[in-house]
Symmetry: C2
Subunit: 578 residues, 2 copies
């Protein structure tokens, strides 16, 4: 029985670390050989890391990528390998897949459909390819796609199946995570499998890169669209899949729907490369199965943990520092940090003021004990009084207002940064998406820090994730009193968030409609929200663009995060017309 | 004698201010009519302001643009008008020019060549057009281009001349400024005029929009490539130009060079619209002349002044606040602010510490007197001591280091923000490009503020602009002692910038090569710079991406500014290989 053994290597490269990525790739090639694989594939731009952004404008970087690719080619004796890399060609750059066989570069496939929306800027860097590539390995014709290429029924996959006779499409991908993205990918690729009556082998990247999480979860669909094998989510993994010649039998594809077609794809040609495996080893079929996908909260929590651990590791920080207020946002942030880095690598600081309640002070202590982290305590009253004294001549006769509240928040920011400077720890910020959206946060105060763990997590989800954490731990790691307490910034006596903001469930709904879905005032009111409340929230979101522009990066987990996903002018007089 | 009178309305719209932009456009139409113009043109996306960024993803915004366009159409009786606006068509958006005649929308031209490099993201929003548009007004055939369309010899202009018989190309543009851009535009459009033997009427936008300055300087080239008329730079203006039928006589264009051709442009078709002017008024020819272009320093200084005044006006701030250190960066920033806003709208603050020299303290006072601005004085020693006392238990036994320096800088940042909060003033930051590049600045300290005036000005140019300012004023507005003093952050005793950094002339040269030109280590060393110095500078630039990510926006005046012009990952292990 002729078996073609394919390995999807779901790796976590680091952007720009060409030597490190090369070594990781070569280690995976070795492992694939040990298990008698015929073909090993790696995700989109694995060699450079994804997205390399403006590194792609540096000629030297592109030359170094080419050199590094040669190292991999040399190490690929006795196996076939498909590897994503940025390919310079004259003055252009392509987002390419190198087809390497037994120590020889056989050809490259160049991504045809380049995403340039949401967090993607691929038209900034890449020239699209214009031809498919089908290689035949041990008699089985395999078409290559890169990420976006497979998101359209009339794209390159159809071309490779119809013109190139492909029976298998391998998609190497770097698909950024948001909650629900995995289901979406599976749905779209299932349609592609069914329309083309082919196997789809989807090899995703894994790892955190600044704002983005790549969630892995690579998988195989058969020509009936059935999920027949899958990889772990949020970790490196190798998926082995055996394909028999008969199993990949070609069935006439259905006509694809032309209405969603990118017009150019089907006009291209297809390169054909025929490879006879150097070592068609005798092999027992591998047992491939489907890994159980994570539940919603488990998935989001895992994404946040991976985001923190990779930001730390890839930027070389030994420890993190978190301002622990006794509120739920910093509690969840600390819990995630401990799961990502271990308790030894997390330091908490409580910075009580005159307005800090006994309850929050106690809770900060209990939380730290529960997490097993060190907690420093630095009261801010002396520093606050010195600011007030220093500013007295200028502020004389003026009533206290938000200024004095912000001074407190900024003292805390300064103290965190002083510890960061002195000890080399990274400050994690604790603001959630709801606050970030409406600007209920202080620039250079609680916004001060290097990385925003829950920046894209709406407040209601902060609660759910906290309860999830406790449930999973089997104990109240995050004290119930923190979860139950009414949220407060504690910057003036008896302050409550709800004095300044709509109730969080309503706020989150309006933010989702306005920010994530770009809905109009009228349509949001049409959903049943109060007119004044919608006006207030839209105004707050619009006005606080300047604050968000200076926020640290944070982990994207929704379809539209603040950051490079949402690009609005600061100078902007557009207001909803009602 | 049949004269076609064309008016290039060089206006300064505000992004999103649809009603305000509409009213400005209608006022300009009225003025054009008063002067018997046949055609009045407005810059690219004048109706929405440029760039509207993700406002273009809001359906309501596009609908509102369409409504606002109708208002303009209604007001255009008795004249022909060409107006840039975002045109929704089904699920697509085009960057379009509306051709309006005598109260009727005759057609739209859709920009064909969309820039997606540097600060541009037009592929994120727009679908490219695929046909030219030539309209004949009083017998003279005029082709429409939008900005980038005219930057390629084989682009839409050639199509409109060769297939559409155009004798005049009107280019409506929103071309962001950098020093030298005007000469570049003129050179490229001169080639286009010569190749096609046609008139080029280039109508640029003017105004500041966040990081970008649009410098105006609209102009007319005749078919010989001669500059025959031009507008003011950095201000609104109306350029009237009379074209006689005979003068626009069509001469066979030369063959364009196919090597620089965007491949698709010449395959398109050309719409033809024939318009007979409603009121071919008897008119005396207008006298058009060429405005003297500004010299280099005058141009850069004007750009900075416009950037400040427009950021203030468009965001509704009444006054600015500047930390005056007695150094040259804050001195130049204050001088620019006074020229932009008037002395009444500028408040200085000096915040001396133990390490502030008598010289800088005196200079801060003299500078403020020279500029006629109010100067507040807030010593930071008490607050500094309270931080040191508060942190003593945690820092005990550790030597002072950069931590204590940063605390001082951040105290100043906090004080500036406290004044900003209390009085509603915008804080201008004073960091230059050299410091920003190598991270010689403190996050939340001297980087705290809303707008970075000289963020893209290299240190050597800071000196030149300061001398230029004094020369123009005819007196030492910026005290000579400030210009002569060796630069120092004054955060520890006897600190000098040159203790930590290469000499500024060398630093600026390496930064230009590495940041603006993306040159490699080897190539920069090849320019004659010391190897260790190049290594040091590259490392500092790379390492400080995280700081720049949280910097306020600032005015772009070089070919590549930090901000949306340069997009590098923070998590990035790429280092030059030597």
């Amino acid at each position: 029985m002729s078996i073609l053994r394919i390995t999807l290597a779901q790796i976590n490269p680091t952007v720009g670390d060409l030597a490190g990525n090369r070594d990781k790739i070569i280690r995976n090639i070795e492992k694939a050989k040990e298990k008698n694989a015929d073909l090993v594939t790696f995700p989109e731009l694995s060699l450079s890391g994804y997205p390399p952004e403006d590194l792609l404008l540096k000629r030297q970087f592109l030359d170094d990528c080419r050199k590094t690719l040669k190292d991999v080619v040399t190490e690929s004796n006795g196996i076939t390998c498909l590897l994503g890399f940025p390919e310079a060609s004259g003055s252009f750059v392509h987002n390419s897949a190198a087809l390497i066989h037994d120590g020889t570069l056989m050809g490259t496939y160049r991504k045809i459909l380049l995403p340039n929306y949401s967090v993607f800027d691929e038209n900034r860097y890449f020239k699209p390819g214009n031809e498919g590539l089908v290689f035949t390995l041990n008699g089985i014709p395999i078409g290559i796609n890169i990420c976006e290429d497979s998101w359209f029924l009339n794209g390159p996959a159809k071309l490779e199946v119809q013109k190139g006779g492909a029976r298998v499409i391998v998609n190497i991908s770097a698909s950024p995570y948001f909650a629900g993205k995995r289901e979406l990918r599976e749905k779209i690729l299932r349609e592609l499998a069914l329309k083309n009556r082919c196997f789809i082998l989807y090899n995703n990247l894994v790892g955190g890169q600044d704002e983005l999480i790549f969630d892995g979860g690579s998988f195989v669909l058969d020509p009936e669209g059935k999920l027949v094998a899958s990889s772990k989510q949020f970790e490196e993994d190798m998926l082995f899949f055996d394909l028999e010649g008969a199993q990949a039998g070609f069935i006439e594809p259905e006509d694809a729907d032309p209405s969603i077609s990118p017009d150019k794809a089907l006009t291209g040609e297809v390169q054909r490369v025929i490879i006879t495996s150097v070592a068609l080893r005798v092999k027992q079929p591998v047992v491939t199965g489907q890994i159980r996908w994570l539940d919603y909260l488990d998935e989001v929590y895992s994404a946040l943990v991976l985001g923190v651990s990779d930001y730390m590791r890839k930027n070389g920080f030994p420890k993190v520092l978190i301002g622990i207020s006794g509120g739920i946002d910093s509690a969840l942030t600390a819990a995630i940090a401990v799961d990502a880095l271990g308790a030894e690598a997390v330091v908490g600081v409580t910075m009580p003021s005159l307005f800090s309640s006994e309850g929050t002070k106690d809770d900060a202590r209990v939380l730290s004990d529960n997490l097993g982290i060190r907690l420093l305590s630095i009261p801010i009253e002396d520093v606050f009084n010195s600011y007030i004294g220093t500013l007295k001549p200028i502020f004389s006769g003026m009533a206290p207002d938000v200024t004095e509240e912000n001074i407190q928040a900024r003292i805390r920011g300064n103290l965190l940064m002083a510890l960061s400077n002195k000890f080399g720890w990274l400050v994690l910020t604790t603001g959630n998406k709801s606050e970030t959206a409406v600007g209920y946060c202080t620039l250079y105060g609680d916004m001060a820090g290097g990385f925003g763990v829950i920046k894209d997590v709406p407040k209601a989800l902060v609660y759910k994730l906290s309860e999830y954490k406790n449930q999973k731990a089997g104990r109240s790691v995050i004290p119930i009193s923190i979860i139950k307490r009414e949220p407060s910034a504690e910057l003036r006596p008896d302050q409550k968030d709800q004095d300044s903001l709509p109730p969080y469930d309503k706020l989150d709904g309006i933010i989702e409609a306005y920010v994530e879905r770009d809905m109009s005032y009228a349509d949001i009111v049409g959903m049943g929200y109060d007119e004044d409340m919608v006006t207030q929230v839209i105004r707050m979101v619009d006005r606080n663009e300047y604050k968000r522009r200076q926020a640290p990066p944070g982990i994207k987990i929704t379809p539209k995060a603040f950051g490079k996903d949402r690009r609005l002018p600061i100078s902007n007089r557009y207001t909803h017309s009602d």
